[in-house]
Protein backbone atom coordinates (compact mmCIF):
# COMPACT_ATOMS: atom_id res chain seq x y z
CA UNK A 1 0.00 0.00 0.00
CA UNK A 2 2.67 2.46 1.04
CA UNK A 3 4.99 1.55 -1.81
CA UNK A 4 2.17 1.93 -4.30
CA UNK A 5 1.28 5.30 -2.81
CA UNK A 6 4.87 6.48 -3.11
CA UNK A 7 5.01 5.30 -6.71
CA UNK A 8 1.79 7.18 -7.46
CA UNK A 9 3.42 10.33 -6.14
CA UNK A 10 6.70 9.57 -7.91
CA UNK A 11 8.64 9.76 -4.67
CA UNK A 12 11.63 7.75 -3.56
CA UNK A 13 11.26 4.79 -1.20
CA UNK A 14 13.26 1.72 -0.27
CA UNK A 15 12.63 -1.41 1.83
CA UNK A 16 14.09 -1.33 5.30
CA UNK A 17 16.54 -3.96 6.48
CA UNK A 18 16.40 -2.59 10.06
CA UNK A 19 19.65 -4.40 10.95
CA UNK A 20 18.07 -7.80 11.35
CA UNK A 21 19.62 -11.01 10.01
CA UNK A 22 17.49 -12.39 7.19
CA UNK A 23 19.59 -15.58 7.04
CA UNK A 24 21.42 -17.44 9.80
CA UNK A 25 24.61 -15.48 10.36
CA UNK A 26 27.58 -16.06 12.65
CA UNK A 27 25.65 -18.08 15.19
CA UNK A 28 22.62 -15.83 15.09
CA UNK A 29 19.32 -17.18 13.85
CA UNK A 30 17.42 -15.49 11.06
CA UNK A 31 14.47 -13.20 11.68
CA UNK A 32 11.15 -15.03 12.04
CA UNK A 33 9.03 -11.88 12.41
CA UNK A 34 8.54 -11.78 16.16
CA UNK A 35 7.65 -8.12 15.81
CA UNK A 36 9.00 -6.92 19.13
CA UNK A 37 12.31 -5.66 17.77
CA UNK A 38 12.61 -2.50 19.81
CA UNK A 39 12.62 -3.93 23.36
CA UNK A 40 14.45 -7.15 22.54
CA UNK A 41 14.82 -9.98 20.02
CA UNK A 42 14.50 -13.42 21.61
CA UNK A 43 15.54 -14.98 18.32
CA UNK A 44 18.84 -13.07 18.29
CA UNK A 45 18.23 -11.84 14.77
CA UNK A 46 18.47 -8.17 15.67
CA UNK A 47 22.05 -6.95 15.45
CA UNK A 48 22.22 -5.30 18.85
CA UNK A 49 25.69 -4.77 20.25
CA UNK A 50 25.21 -7.26 23.09
CA UNK A 51 25.29 -10.07 20.53
CA UNK A 52 27.55 -8.51 17.89
CA UNK A 53 30.44 -6.37 19.14
CA UNK A 54 30.52 -7.37 22.80
CA UNK A 55 31.01 -11.14 22.40
CA UNK A 56 33.85 -10.47 19.95
CA UNK A 57 35.43 -7.95 22.28
CA UNK A 58 35.24 -10.32 25.24
CA UNK A 59 36.75 -13.15 23.22
CA UNK A 60 39.59 -10.73 22.46
CA UNK A 61 40.19 -10.21 26.19
CA UNK A 62 38.04 -7.20 27.06
CA UNK A 63 36.68 -7.38 30.60
CA UNK A 64 33.13 -6.05 30.91
CA UNK A 65 32.09 -4.80 34.34
CA UNK A 66 28.35 -4.37 34.48
CA UNK A 67 26.18 -2.33 36.86
CA UNK A 68 29.02 0.11 37.47
CA UNK A 69 28.72 3.88 37.35
CA UNK A 70 31.69 6.17 36.73
CA UNK A 71 31.78 9.27 38.91
CA UNK A 72 34.75 11.11 37.43
CA UNK A 73 37.87 10.92 35.34
CA UNK A 74 41.06 11.60 37.26
CA UNK A 75 44.09 13.41 35.90
CA UNK A 76 47.81 13.10 36.53
CA UNK A 77 50.40 15.83 36.94
CA UNK A 78 51.13 15.79 33.19
CA UNK A 79 47.60 16.79 32.22
CA UNK A 80 46.75 13.30 31.06
CA UNK A 81 43.79 11.19 32.11
CA UNK A 82 44.96 8.76 34.78
CA UNK A 83 41.85 6.64 35.26
CA UNK A 84 38.33 6.70 36.57
CA UNK A 85 36.61 6.58 39.94
CA UNK A 86 33.51 4.41 39.79
CA UNK A 87 30.97 2.64 41.94
CA UNK A 88 30.72 -1.11 41.45
CA UNK A 89 27.58 -3.24 41.51
CA UNK A 90 27.66 -3.26 45.31
CA UNK A 91 27.95 0.52 45.44
CA UNK A 92 31.56 0.37 46.60
CA UNK A 93 33.86 3.06 45.30
CA UNK A 94 36.60 1.71 43.06
CA UNK A 95 39.47 3.16 41.06
CA UNK A 96 40.61 1.97 37.64
CA UNK A 97 43.86 3.36 36.30
CA UNK A 98 44.19 3.70 32.52
CA UNK A 99 46.68 4.58 29.79
CA UNK A 100 43.82 5.71 27.59
CA UNK A 101 40.25 6.62 28.54
CA UNK A 102 37.57 6.09 25.87
CA UNK A 103 34.08 7.42 26.58
CA UNK A 104 30.89 6.09 25.02
CA UNK A 105 28.04 7.34 27.21
CA UNK A 106 26.35 9.26 24.38
CA UNK A 107 25.15 12.84 24.15
CA UNK A 108 23.98 13.27 27.74
CA UNK A 109 26.10 10.81 29.74
CA UNK A 110 29.46 11.74 28.27
CA UNK A 111 29.24 15.53 28.80
CA UNK A 112 27.79 14.86 32.24
CA UNK A 113 30.87 12.83 33.11
CA UNK A 114 33.24 15.47 31.74
CA UNK A 115 31.44 18.24 33.62
CA UNK A 116 31.54 16.11 36.78
CA UNK A 117 35.31 15.72 36.28
CA UNK A 118 36.04 19.41 36.88
CA UNK A 119 39.23 20.08 38.82
CA UNK A 120 41.53 22.94 39.65
CA UNK A 121 43.16 22.52 36.28
CA UNK A 122 39.84 22.13 34.47
CA UNK A 123 37.43 24.27 36.50
CA UNK A 124 34.72 24.27 33.81
CA UNK A 125 34.82 20.55 33.30
CA UNK A 126 37.31 18.23 31.70
CA UNK A 127 38.11 18.79 27.99
CA UNK A 128 36.05 21.96 28.02
CA UNK A 129 38.47 24.76 27.12
CA UNK A 130 36.13 25.62 24.24
CA UNK A 131 33.21 26.00 26.63
CA UNK A 132 31.21 23.75 24.29
CA UNK A 133 31.06 20.59 26.41
CA UNK A 134 27.36 19.89 26.80
CA UNK A 135 26.24 22.50 24.27
CA UNK A 136 24.53 21.96 20.90
CA UNK A 137 22.38 19.08 22.14
CA UNK A 138 20.39 17.68 19.25
CA UNK A 139 17.57 15.16 19.13
CA UNK A 140 15.59 13.88 16.20
CA UNK A 141 12.19 15.50 16.55
CA UNK A 142 9.76 13.02 14.97
CA UNK A 143 6.61 14.21 13.22
CA UNK A 144 4.39 11.13 13.15
CA UNK A 145 1.33 10.86 10.93
CA UNK A 146 -0.86 7.78 10.58
CA UNK A 147 -4.22 6.71 9.31
CA UNK A 148 -6.38 3.67 8.58
CA UNK A 149 -7.06 1.72 5.43
CA UNK A 150 -9.69 -0.84 4.52
CA UNK A 151 -7.15 -3.59 3.81
CA UNK A 152 -5.48 -5.54 6.58
CA UNK A 153 -1.89 -4.53 7.30
CA UNK A 154 1.07 -6.55 8.59
CA UNK A 155 0.39 -4.88 11.93
CA UNK A 156 2.84 -5.96 14.65
CA UNK A 157 3.72 -9.28 13.00
CA UNK A 158 7.13 -8.19 11.69
CA UNK A 159 9.82 -5.56 12.35
CA UNK A 160 8.01 -2.27 12.98
CA UNK A 161 9.81 -0.35 10.25
CA UNK A 162 9.14 -1.46 6.68
CA UNK A 163 10.21 1.32 4.29
CA UNK A 164 12.28 4.47 4.16
CA UNK A 165 12.20 7.49 1.89
CA UNK A 166 14.95 10.03 1.22
CA UNK A 167 12.76 12.13 -1.06
CA UNK A 168 13.02 15.16 1.23
CA UNK A 169 16.45 14.58 2.74
CA UNK A 170 18.54 17.16 0.93
CA UNK A 171 18.29 20.93 1.25
CA UNK A 172 15.82 22.59 -1.12
CA UNK A 173 15.70 26.36 -0.50
CA UNK A 174 12.13 26.55 -1.79
CA UNK A 175 10.94 24.61 1.26
CA UNK A 176 11.88 27.36 3.71
CA UNK A 177 14.35 25.37 5.76
CA UNK A 178 17.80 23.87 5.39
CA UNK A 179 18.60 20.17 5.50
CA UNK A 180 15.75 17.68 5.57
CA UNK A 181 14.34 14.47 6.86
CA UNK A 182 13.93 10.79 6.25
CA UNK A 183 10.49 9.26 6.18
CA UNK A 184 10.29 6.08 8.24
CA UNK A 185 7.25 3.95 7.44
CA UNK A 186 5.65 1.67 10.00
CA UNK A 187 3.69 -1.55 9.58
CA UNK A 188 1.24 -0.90 12.39
CA UNK A 189 0.76 -1.90 16.00
CA UNK A 190 -0.81 -4.66 18.05
CA UNK A 191 -4.26 -4.62 19.71
CA UNK A 192 -3.24 -3.14 23.07
CA UNK A 193 -1.30 -0.22 21.59
CA UNK A 194 -4.03 0.36 19.02
CA UNK A 195 -6.73 0.44 21.67
CA UNK A 196 -4.88 2.80 24.01
CA UNK A 197 -3.75 5.15 21.24
CA UNK A 198 -7.08 5.25 19.44
CA UNK A 199 -9.05 5.86 22.62
CA UNK A 200 -6.73 8.74 23.48
CA UNK A 201 -7.20 10.20 19.97
CA UNK A 202 -10.98 10.00 20.26
CA UNK A 203 -11.30 7.40 17.49
CA UNK A 204 -12.36 4.56 19.77
CA UNK A 205 -15.61 5.21 21.64
CA UNK A 206 -16.72 3.96 25.00
CA UNK A 207 -19.88 1.91 25.09
CA UNK A 208 -21.96 0.24 22.43
CA UNK A 209 -19.94 1.35 19.41
CA UNK A 210 -16.62 0.23 20.85
CA UNK A 211 -16.27 -3.20 19.29
CA UNK A 212 -17.23 -2.26 15.74
CA UNK A 213 -14.95 0.77 15.83
CA UNK A 214 -12.04 -1.28 17.15
CA UNK A 215 -12.36 -3.84 14.38
CA UNK A 216 -12.18 -1.07 11.82
CA UNK A 217 -8.98 0.29 13.39
CA UNK A 218 -7.10 -2.75 14.64
CA UNK A 219 -4.82 -4.23 12.01
CA UNK A 220 -5.63 -1.44 9.54
CA UNK A 221 -3.15 1.23 10.55
CA UNK A 222 -0.45 2.58 8.26
CA UNK A 223 1.81 5.46 9.15
CA UNK A 224 5.10 7.22 8.83
CA UNK A 225 7.36 9.61 10.68
CA UNK A 226 9.61 12.40 9.47
CA UNK A 227 12.97 11.99 11.23
CA UNK A 228 14.06 15.60 11.16
CA UNK A 229 17.68 16.72 11.04
CA UNK A 230 18.09 18.91 14.09
CA UNK A 231 20.70 21.64 13.87
CA UNK A 232 23.22 22.65 16.55
CA UNK A 233 22.08 25.53 18.74
CA UNK A 234 24.15 26.36 21.79
CA UNK A 235 21.14 27.12 24.00
CA UNK A 236 20.16 23.45 23.68
CA UNK A 237 22.49 21.93 26.21
CA UNK A 238 23.40 19.52 28.98
CA UNK A 239 24.59 21.03 32.24
CA UNK A 240 24.80 19.69 35.78
CA UNK A 241 21.68 20.03 37.86
CA UNK A 242 22.46 22.15 40.92
CA UNK A 243 20.26 20.03 43.17
CA UNK A 244 19.38 16.66 41.64
CA UNK A 245 21.76 13.75 42.20
CA UNK A 246 21.65 10.08 41.29
CA UNK A 247 21.59 7.21 43.77
CA UNK A 248 25.39 7.46 44.18
CA UNK A 249 25.22 11.17 44.93
CA UNK A 250 26.65 12.13 41.54
CA UNK A 251 25.21 15.40 40.14
CA UNK A 252 22.55 14.59 37.56
CA UNK A 253 22.39 16.07 34.07
CA UNK A 254 20.01 18.90 33.40
CA UNK A 255 18.60 19.19 29.87
CA UNK A 256 17.59 22.49 28.29
CA UNK A 257 16.10 22.03 24.84
CA UNK A 258 13.74 23.90 22.55
CA UNK A 259 12.82 22.85 19.02
CA UNK A 260 14.39 25.40 16.69
CA UNK A 261 12.57 27.32 13.96
CA UNK A 262 14.29 25.42 11.16
CA UNK A 263 13.33 22.09 12.68
CA UNK A 264 9.77 23.26 13.33
CA UNK A 265 9.36 24.25 9.66
CA UNK A 266 10.82 20.91 8.62
CA UNK A 267 8.30 19.07 10.79
CA UNK A 268 5.40 21.01 9.28
CA UNK A 269 6.67 20.16 5.81
CA UNK A 270 6.95 16.51 6.78
CA UNK A 271 3.41 16.44 8.14
CA UNK A 272 2.01 17.96 4.94
CA UNK A 273 3.86 15.47 2.72
CA UNK A 274 2.88 12.56 4.98
CA UNK A 275 -0.77 13.52 4.63
CA UNK A 276 -0.35 13.45 0.85
CA UNK A 277 1.17 9.98 1.07
CA UNK A 278 -1.64 8.69 3.27
CA UNK A 279 -4.19 10.24 0.94
CA UNK A 280 -2.53 8.45 -1.97
CA UNK A 281 -2.85 5.23 0.04
CA UNK A 282 -6.56 6.02 0.58
CA UNK A 283 -6.19 6.18 4.34
CA UNK A 284 -8.70 7.97 6.56
CA UNK A 285 -8.93 9.12 10.19
CA UNK A 286 -5.54 10.80 9.95
CA UNK A 287 -3.78 11.33 13.28
CA UNK A 288 -0.75 13.47 14.00
CA UNK A 289 1.76 13.30 16.84
CA UNK A 290 4.31 16.06 16.41
CA UNK A 291 6.66 15.82 18.08
CA UNK A 292 6.14 12.33 19.40
CA UNK A 293 6.41 12.70 23.14
CA UNK A 294 8.61 9.66 23.74
CA UNK A 295 11.13 10.51 21.03
CA UNK A 296 14.06 11.98 22.94
CA UNK A 297 16.14 8.89 22.42
CA UNK A 298 18.86 10.09 20.02
CA UNK A 299 21.23 12.18 22.11
CA UNK A 300 23.67 13.95 19.86
CA UNK A 301 26.10 16.79 19.38
CA UNK A 302 27.25 17.82 22.85
CA UNK A 303 30.99 17.21 22.29
CA UNK A 304 31.34 18.10 18.67
CA UNK A 305 34.16 16.90 16.46
CA UNK A 306 36.27 19.41 14.55
CA UNK A 307 39.70 20.75 13.70
CA UNK A 308 39.35 24.08 15.53
CA UNK A 309 39.86 23.71 19.33
CA UNK A 310 37.85 26.89 19.86
CA UNK A 311 34.80 25.47 18.05
CA UNK A 312 34.97 21.79 18.91
CA UNK A 313 35.75 19.44 21.79
CA UNK A 314 37.49 16.56 20.01
CA UNK A 315 39.71 16.53 16.96
CA UNK A 316 38.80 14.93 13.62
CA UNK A 317 39.78 11.48 14.90
CA UNK A 318 37.99 11.58 18.23
CA UNK A 319 40.73 12.69 20.60
CA UNK A 320 40.01 15.48 23.06
CA UNK A 321 41.74 18.72 22.09
CA UNK A 322 42.65 19.28 25.75
CA UNK A 323 43.52 15.81 27.07
CA UNK A 324 45.58 13.74 24.68
CA UNK A 325 44.69 10.31 26.01
CA UNK A 326 40.96 10.95 26.23
CA UNK A 327 38.78 9.75 23.34
CA UNK A 328 35.06 9.95 22.66
CA UNK A 329 33.26 7.46 20.41
CA UNK A 330 29.54 8.18 20.75
CA UNK A 331 26.74 10.36 19.40
CA UNK A 332 28.02 13.47 21.16
CA UNK A 333 30.56 13.83 18.32
CA UNK A 334 27.91 14.77 15.73
CA UNK A 335 28.07 18.31 14.33
CA UNK A 336 24.54 18.08 12.98
CA UNK A 337 22.19 15.28 13.80
CA UNK A 338 21.60 13.89 10.31
CA UNK A 339 18.04 13.06 9.38
CA UNK A 340 18.41 9.34 10.01
CA UNK A 341 18.49 7.01 12.98
CA UNK A 342 22.08 7.45 14.18
CA UNK A 343 23.27 4.09 15.50
CA UNK A 344 24.99 2.97 12.31
CA UNK A 345 26.81 6.31 12.07
CA UNK A 346 27.85 6.13 15.73
CA UNK A 347 29.22 2.64 15.15
CA UNK A 348 31.05 3.80 12.02
CA UNK A 349 32.60 6.69 13.96
CA UNK A 350 33.66 4.37 16.79
CA UNK A 351 35.27 1.97 14.33
CA UNK A 352 36.95 4.85 12.50
CA UNK A 353 38.37 6.28 15.72
CA UNK A 354 39.56 2.83 16.84
CA UNK A 355 41.34 2.44 13.49
CA UNK A 356 42.88 5.88 13.86
CA UNK A 357 44.14 5.03 17.35
CA UNK A 358 45.68 1.82 16.07
CA UNK A 359 47.33 3.52 13.10
CA UNK A 360 48.67 6.36 15.26
CA UNK A 361 49.75 4.19 18.18
CA UNK A 362 53.39 5.26 18.00
CA UNK A 363 52.53 8.93 18.42
CA UNK A 364 49.00 8.76 19.78
CA UNK A 365 49.61 11.41 22.42
CA UNK A 366 51.64 13.88 20.35
Amino acid sequence: MLAKAMNRLGWHWWPSDTTVATVDYEGRARCINLGHCTPACTQGAKASTDITYWPAARRAGVELRTHCRVREITMNEHGMAAGVVYYDADGTEQYQSAEVVVLACNGVGTPRLLLNSASGRFPNGLANSSGLAGKNLMFHPYAQVYGYVDQETDSNRAPPTCLWSKEFYETDPSRGFVRGYTFQFGRGVGPVVEAVASEAKGLLPWGAGHHAAFRRLNGHRIGLSAICEDLPEEHNRVTLDPVLKDSHGIPAPRIDYTIGENTARMMEHGIARAKEILAAAEASDICINSPILYGGWHLLGTLRMGADPDRSVVNPWGRSHDVKNLFIVDGSLFVTSGGVNPTSTIQALALYIADQMKQRLANLFD
Binding site: A3, I32, N33, T42, K166, A200, R215
Partner: protein, 149 residues
Protein backbone atom coordinates in the same frame (compact mmCIF):
# COMPACT_ATOMS: atom_id res chain seq x y z
CA UNK B 1 -2.28 2.19 50.82
CA UNK B 2 0.14 -0.03 48.92
CA UNK B 3 0.10 -0.76 45.21
CA UNK B 4 -0.49 -4.51 45.55
CA UNK B 5 -3.64 -6.48 44.71
CA UNK B 6 -5.47 -5.00 47.70
CA UNK B 7 -4.75 -1.46 46.55
CA UNK B 8 -8.41 -0.82 45.76
CA UNK B 9 -11.12 -0.83 48.38
CA UNK B 10 -14.19 -2.99 47.86
CA UNK B 11 -16.17 0.07 46.80
CA UNK B 12 -13.44 1.11 44.37
CA UNK B 13 -13.35 -2.40 42.90
CA UNK B 14 -17.12 -2.27 42.41
CA UNK B 15 -16.85 1.09 40.68
CA UNK B 16 -13.93 -0.18 38.58
CA UNK B 17 -16.02 -3.10 37.41
CA UNK B 18 -18.96 -0.83 36.58
CA UNK B 19 -16.96 1.78 34.71
CA UNK B 20 -15.07 -0.94 32.81
CA UNK B 21 -18.42 -2.22 31.54
CA UNK B 22 -19.29 1.29 30.40
CA UNK B 23 -15.99 1.54 28.51
CA UNK B 24 -16.19 -1.93 26.93
CA UNK B 25 -19.53 -3.70 27.27
CA UNK B 26 -19.98 -7.38 26.48
CA UNK B 27 -21.14 -8.13 22.95
CA UNK B 28 -23.05 -11.11 21.67
CA UNK B 29 -22.53 -9.86 18.13
CA UNK B 30 -18.75 -10.05 18.45
CA UNK B 31 -18.78 -12.94 20.96
CA UNK B 32 -16.67 -11.12 23.52
CA UNK B 33 -16.99 -10.51 27.25
CA UNK B 34 -17.16 -7.00 28.63
CA UNK B 35 -14.28 -5.46 30.52
CA UNK B 36 -16.26 -6.15 33.71
CA UNK B 37 -15.56 -9.87 33.22
CA UNK B 38 -14.18 -11.38 36.41
CA UNK B 39 -10.94 -12.66 34.86
CA UNK B 40 -10.23 -9.30 33.25
CA UNK B 41 -11.04 -7.49 36.48
CA UNK B 42 -8.68 -9.80 38.36
CA UNK B 43 -5.94 -8.98 35.84
CA UNK B 44 -6.57 -5.25 36.25
CA UNK B 45 -6.40 -5.37 40.02
CA UNK B 46 -3.34 -7.65 40.06
CA UNK B 47 -1.31 -5.55 37.65
CA UNK B 48 -2.14 -1.99 38.62
CA UNK B 49 1.42 -1.48 39.81
CA UNK B 50 2.62 2.08 39.38
CA UNK B 51 -0.77 3.13 37.99
CA UNK B 52 -2.53 2.40 41.29
CA UNK B 53 -2.35 5.97 42.58
CA UNK B 54 -3.76 7.55 39.44
CA UNK B 55 -6.44 4.87 39.11
CA UNK B 56 -7.57 5.47 42.69
CA UNK B 57 -7.68 9.18 41.89
CA UNK B 58 -9.87 8.49 38.86
CA UNK B 59 -12.17 6.27 40.89
CA UNK B 60 -12.50 9.00 43.51
CA UNK B 61 -13.43 11.38 40.69
CA UNK B 62 -15.98 8.85 39.45
CA UNK B 63 -17.46 8.44 42.93
CA UNK B 64 -17.93 12.19 43.20
CA UNK B 65 -19.68 12.34 39.83
CA UNK B 66 -21.93 9.36 40.52
CA UNK B 67 -22.77 10.28 44.10
CA UNK B 68 -23.27 6.62 44.93
CA UNK B 69 -22.05 3.25 43.60
CA UNK B 70 -22.02 3.48 39.81
CA UNK B 71 -23.62 0.07 39.43
CA UNK B 72 -26.64 1.21 41.44
CA UNK B 73 -27.54 3.92 38.92
CA UNK B 74 -29.95 3.24 36.10
CA UNK B 75 -28.29 2.49 32.73
CA UNK B 76 -28.91 5.94 31.25
CA UNK B 77 -27.46 7.69 34.28
CA UNK B 78 -24.48 5.30 34.37
CA UNK B 79 -23.72 6.13 30.77
CA UNK B 80 -24.07 9.86 31.43
CA UNK B 81 -21.67 9.67 34.36
CA UNK B 82 -19.20 7.65 32.28
CA UNK B 83 -19.32 10.19 29.47
CA UNK B 84 -18.83 13.02 31.95
CA UNK B 85 -15.84 11.24 33.46
CA UNK B 86 -14.31 10.76 30.04
CA UNK B 87 -14.93 14.39 29.10
CA UNK B 88 -13.35 15.55 32.34
CA UNK B 89 -10.21 13.80 31.18
CA UNK B 90 -6.87 14.31 32.84
CA UNK B 91 -4.01 11.97 33.65
CA UNK B 92 -5.99 9.96 36.19
CA UNK B 93 -8.85 9.09 33.83
CA UNK B 94 -6.32 8.36 31.07
CA UNK B 95 -4.53 5.91 33.37
CA UNK B 96 -7.75 4.18 34.36
CA UNK B 97 -8.81 3.86 30.73
CA UNK B 98 -5.40 2.54 29.73
CA UNK B 99 -5.32 -0.21 32.36
CA UNK B 100 -8.83 -1.32 31.35
CA UNK B 101 -7.92 -1.41 27.66
CA UNK B 102 -4.58 -3.14 28.08
CA UNK B 103 -6.00 -5.89 30.28
CA UNK B 104 -9.01 -6.35 28.03
CA UNK B 105 -7.06 -6.64 24.80
CA UNK B 106 -4.64 -9.20 26.18
CA UNK B 107 -7.38 -11.56 27.33
CA UNK B 108 -7.19 -14.80 25.34
CA UNK B 109 -10.91 -14.82 24.54
CA UNK B 110 -10.76 -11.28 23.22
CA UNK B 111 -7.62 -11.93 21.22
CA UNK B 112 -9.21 -14.99 19.61
CA UNK B 113 -12.35 -13.00 18.81
CA UNK B 114 -10.13 -10.58 16.88
CA UNK B 115 -8.93 -13.47 14.74
CA UNK B 116 -5.49 -13.56 16.37
CA UNK B 117 -3.64 -16.36 18.11
CA UNK B 118 -3.31 -15.82 21.87
CA UNK B 119 0.37 -16.73 22.08
CA UNK B 120 3.72 -15.05 22.53
CA UNK B 121 5.50 -14.35 19.23
CA UNK B 122 8.47 -16.56 20.14
CA UNK B 123 9.31 -19.24 19.11
CA UNK B 124 6.79 -19.60 16.27
CA UNK B 125 7.11 -16.12 14.82
CA UNK B 126 4.93 -15.01 11.94
CA UNK B 127 4.89 -15.68 8.23
CA UNK B 128 4.14 -12.75 5.96
CA UNK B 129 3.33 -12.81 2.29
CA UNK B 130 6.20 -11.80 0.07
CA UNK B 131 5.92 -8.27 -1.23
CA UNK B 132 5.82 -7.42 -4.90
CA UNK B 133 9.42 -6.52 -5.70
CA UNK B 134 8.46 -5.13 -9.11
CA UNK B 135 7.09 -2.12 -7.23
CA UNK B 136 10.71 -1.06 -6.89
CA UNK B 137 11.20 -0.81 -10.65
CA UNK B 138 10.27 2.90 -10.88
CA UNK B 139 12.51 3.66 -7.91
CA UNK B 140 15.43 1.84 -9.50
CA UNK B 141 14.80 3.78 -12.72
CA UNK B 142 15.22 7.15 -11.01
CA UNK B 143 18.42 9.09 -11.53
CA UNK B 144 20.69 9.36 -8.47
CA UNK B 145 19.26 11.80 -5.93
CA UNK B 146 22.15 11.96 -3.46
CA UNK B 147 24.99 14.42 -3.26
CA UNK B 148 28.27 13.26 -4.69
CA UNK B 149 31.10 12.70 -2.19
Amino acid sequence: MSADDTSLTAAQRDDMRAIAAEIIPASLEFDVPGADDSAIQADIVATLGRDAGLVREALDQLARLAGRPLASLDPARREAVAMELRATGGAAVAALTRVVLQCYYRDDRVVRALGLEPRPPYPKGHVLEDGDWSLLDPVRARPPMWRGA
